[in-house]
């Protein structure tokens, strides 16, 4: 049970992180100064610079003292989702910037608007390049779901503690099992992402890097 909740939390955090992180990255690379300095950078800096546990407390206890009563799940989603968005945005930004400027120029030269060029030419390439970095972020977010235990959400970690308390059981055994479960979930998730990376790799592209125009 706890495992499923942990996985669901990770999917929710990563999902929000993706939906917010991608536009942040595009805004940081292609946006004007206003977009970049007044929206993107403050968000990214805020969520990257504050420890996850502090973010969780801010969005749960902090918000409730401002009469914003988020449920533990919503508070966790906002804190961890936006945190992931900040990290993901930097993964995507790096990928976007690694794409040759000629790709954008060629797209514009056949009459694509900037938006279409980003949508059809830049992002399909950037997302492929992002997979290895993103797989790192996936592992971090999944493991960090254990922190929401502090807000009373019954995920894997809290479930483990319940079991220890209820059965006067062997703490070492229970936590080793918890650790093993985290390990397996991360492991298989990373394998899945490796598979996607292989599946969507651009044929011939690896060879090109070595052979042409040395």
């Amino acid at each position: 049970m706890g495992t499923l909740i942990s996985i669901e939390l990770a999917i929710a955090f990563l999902g929000l992180g993706f939906v917010v992180g991608l536009p942040l990255a595009v805004g940081e690379v292609y946006g004007n100064k206003f977009v970049k300095n007044l929206t993107v950078l403050p968000i990214v800096e805020f969520f990257r610079s504050i420890p996850a546990l502090v973010l969780l407390f801010l969005f749960y206890f902090g918000a409730s003292s401002l009469n914003l009563n988020f449920s533990p799940f919503i508070a966790a989603l906002l804190a961890m989702g936006f945190r992931s968005a900040a990290y993901q945005s930097q993964i995507f930004r790096g990928a976007i910037k690694s794409i040759d400027v000629g790709q954008m120029q060629a797209a514009r030269s056949i009459g694509m608007s900037r938006f279409k060029a980003i949508r059809y030419i830049i992002l399909p390439q950037a997302l492929r390049i992002s997979i290895p970095g993103w797989s790192n972020e996936y592992a971090c977010v999944l493991k960090d779901t254990s922190l929401v235990y502090a807000l009373g959400i019954t995920e894997l970690m809290r479930q483990g503690r319940y079991i220890v308390a209820r059965t006067f059981g062997n703490a070492i055994l229970v936590y080793v099992v918890c650790a093993l479960i985290y390990f397996l979930v991360v492991h298989f998730g990373v394998k899945l992402l490796d598979f996607l990376e292989e599946r969507y790799k651009i044929p011939g592209y690896e060879i090109k890097k070595v052979t042409t125009r040395a």
């Binding site: 000629g102 060629a106 514009r108 030269s109 056949i110 009459g111 694509m112 399909p124």
Partner: protein
Amino acid sequence: MAQTILKVENLHKSYGKTEVIKGVSFEVKKGETKVIIGPSGTGKSTLLRCINQLDSPDKGRVWLEDVEISKSHIDINQIRASIGFVFQSFNLFTHLTALDNVRIGLMRVKGIKEEEATKIAVEEFKRVGLGDEMHHYPAQLSGGQQQRVSIARALAMNPKLILFDEPTSALDPELIGEVLEVMINLAKEGTTMIVVTHEMGFARSVANDIIFMDDGIILEEGPPGDIFKKPKHKRTAKFLSKIT
């Protein structure tokens, strides 16, 4: 008198404090092949990029037929769709097959249905002498094939004019011929083209008109016979003696 396709008037462009183009004017007639030659760093490529507004000129005006395209309120995307551009480094979209490279403009810019776009693309592949390679990705093609795909990509949009920016400069010597051959055929078919190149053989035999650019200006312009046999300027003569 053939219709004027492109008119450039007193174009200026600077990067920082360096003025790269210092007042260039010329015209291109329908069906004409205009070749621009000159030493490296004299603004030839910049000039091409200022024509389709990939770089915006600082001063001066550009007309495509009777539309002034250097105005800021013009829908530049629509204009660019009717000006082909062939890059020195091909710039094929790396994540798309050759076929999709040629189709994407038709489908995403012109809104043509897939089936019709495929038909057009296949035709253009024939024009550049390709066929079997359609389902390959750019990285699986030779430089010459890639450049021919990029010419097909430009042709598919049915442009009024195609700009070639040193199309053979990034190619191995044995691959230059196949690209030039395609361009020669286009010229014969009456495609309007502006070609920046160091291929003097091509310039001499295919150009209707040659522009010699030096230090950001057009130093002289005329038919190949005049430019190659009796250049008016010392600098033109010097350049030609070095390169041929």
